[in-house]
């Protein structure tokens, strides 16, 4: 009788505790030191260094940039906003950059498949080659007018390794490679992201982004996580 009551009490207590424990595992904030190096065969070069902040509930990625110039760059659902010396510049966006950013995918635990499982793209086939597990994703919804016809996603050691985006006529629109994984709170985060894409002028664009000193669920730097810019 005592054992039965004890079991019941144990189950009730665990029933309350387990959701709390599960909730504590949720990641909602991430910050990191970042460096972006860009180069194009047309001669364009750029170096950007600073710190990036992302709170999944705020739906804006905030870059506190100190090089080339001190400024704050904000990416939200509709625009990119640059704030420098009190001046605000806004450029409207057509695509969703937040949901497919490495930061957002990491927090949502969808980085291994680049969030493709929640898109109209359907998994067509999976192959194993040279230590890579390569999956082919095709547009499964005929009503979606997407410039992307196909995606090749590769995984290495269960981590996202690469993503190749194909456009009309199976031409490569962009290639992204994710390397130098860092263990952050039990999850793998790519410390280096390479991006290659042909530019509109026929040149090739290359970009290297590196992340260091990654912190998740920080209670500090609220002013950046919830950055409010004042229009001039």
């Amino acid at each position: 009788m005592v054992i039965k009551q004890f079991r019941k009490a144990y189950l009730i207590i665990m029933g309350f505790l387990f959701p709390l424990v599960s909730y504590s595992q949720l990641y909602y904030r991430i910050e990191a030191d970042f460096t972006t190096k860009e180069k194009s065969t047309s001669g364009y070069e750029n170096l950007m260094m600073g710190k990036v902040y992302f709170d999944i509930n705020q739906r804006q990625i905030v870059f506190d940039v100190y090089f080339p110039e001190k400024e704050v760059l904000i990416i939200n659902d509709t625009a990119t906003i640059t704030v420098r010396a009190g001046k605000v510049k806004k450029h409207e966006l057509s695509g969703n950059l937040i949901d497919f950013s490495v930061l957002s995918l990491f927090l949502k635990g969808e980085l291994d498949y680049f969030g493709l499982k929640n898109t109209p793209f359907k998994l067509e086939k999976v192959e194993k080659e040279n230590g890579l597990v390569i999956s082919t994703w095709i547009m499964g919804d005929k009503f979606v007018n997407s410039p992307v016809s196909k995606l090749l996603l590769s995984q290495k050691n269960n981590n996202l390794h690469g993503l190749i985006t194909f456009g009309p006529g199976d031409s490569i629109i962009s290639k992204q490679i994710f390397t130098d994984y860092i263990l952050v709170e039990g999850m793998q985060f790519p410390g280096r992201v390479l991006q290659f894409s042909p530019s509109a002028d026929g040149s090739e664009f290359k970009k290297i982004t590196t992340y260091k000193n990654i912190v998740v669920n920080s209670n500090k730097n609220d002013s950046f996580y919830k950055y409010i810019y004042r229009h001039n």
Binding site: E45, T82, K89, S154, K175, L194
Partner: protein, 194 residues
């Protein structure tokens, strides 16, 4: 004759396997496919010439050849698409990496500071596109201009005091207002004279 055929058959497969080993990691290779096609034709010719002796082997030969073709087309270099030439990448970004290291050690130095103090040799780097995202370059906005030029009282509320419009829109609005004033100043005397 069977021995001779088997020798040739072995030679063919040895060649195919060798080619597979050497070329499979290089992706889709036209010469490799051509060599496989020649091998295939070669085997078929043998089958035609000596079919009475090798009838039993024919099925096996065809199956193996088809299997090899299927393997080749399945392995047509998807993994190679993910290859990155790290050496080339390092060479391409050598100057930017050197600048990155300098900035990291120089405690939040900006490009303007470097250019003003000439503390780092920027000769090998094209800095034209750096740091021009929000300052120095004004991007003319037709929407703001037209509001200012055609209907400035309403445009004042739509653009000038609208929190969602950026500085380029607002400056374009005031350019439009200015252009409207100048245009009116020129055309009004002409209108009232005639």
């Amino acid at each position: 004759m069977i021995k001779q055929y088997k020798a040739v058959q072995f030679f063919n497969y040895a060649k195919i396997v060798k080619a597979l080993k050497s070329d499979i990691h290089k992706g889709f290779n036209h010469y490799f496919i051509l060599s496989l096609l020649l091998d295939y034709i070669y085997v078929l010719l043998y089958l035609l010439l000596f079919k009475h002796q090798i009838f039993i082997n024919m099925k096996k030969t065809l199956l193996l050849t088809v299997a090899l073709f299927v393997t080749v087309f399945t392995f047509a270099g998807n993994a190679d698409l993910f290859d990155v030439n790290e050496q080339e990448l390092n060479n391409d970004f050598a100057e930017l990496t050197a600048l990155e290291n300098y900035v990291s050690q120089s405690n939040f130095i900006t490009l303007s500071d470097i250019q003003a103090g000439k503390t780092y040799d920027l000769m090998g780097i094209n800095t034209d596109g750096m740091g021009t995202s929000s300052e120095g370059q004004f991007a003319f906005q037709w929407e703001g201009f037209l509001w200012g030029f055609l209907c400035c009282p309403i445009g004042f509320f739509v653009i000038a005091v609208n929190k969602n419009k950026d500085s380029d829109q607002k400056l374009s609005y005031w350019i439009g207002v200015g252009a409207s004033v100048v245009f009116s100043a020129i055309t009004s005397p002409i209108y009232y004279t005639y």
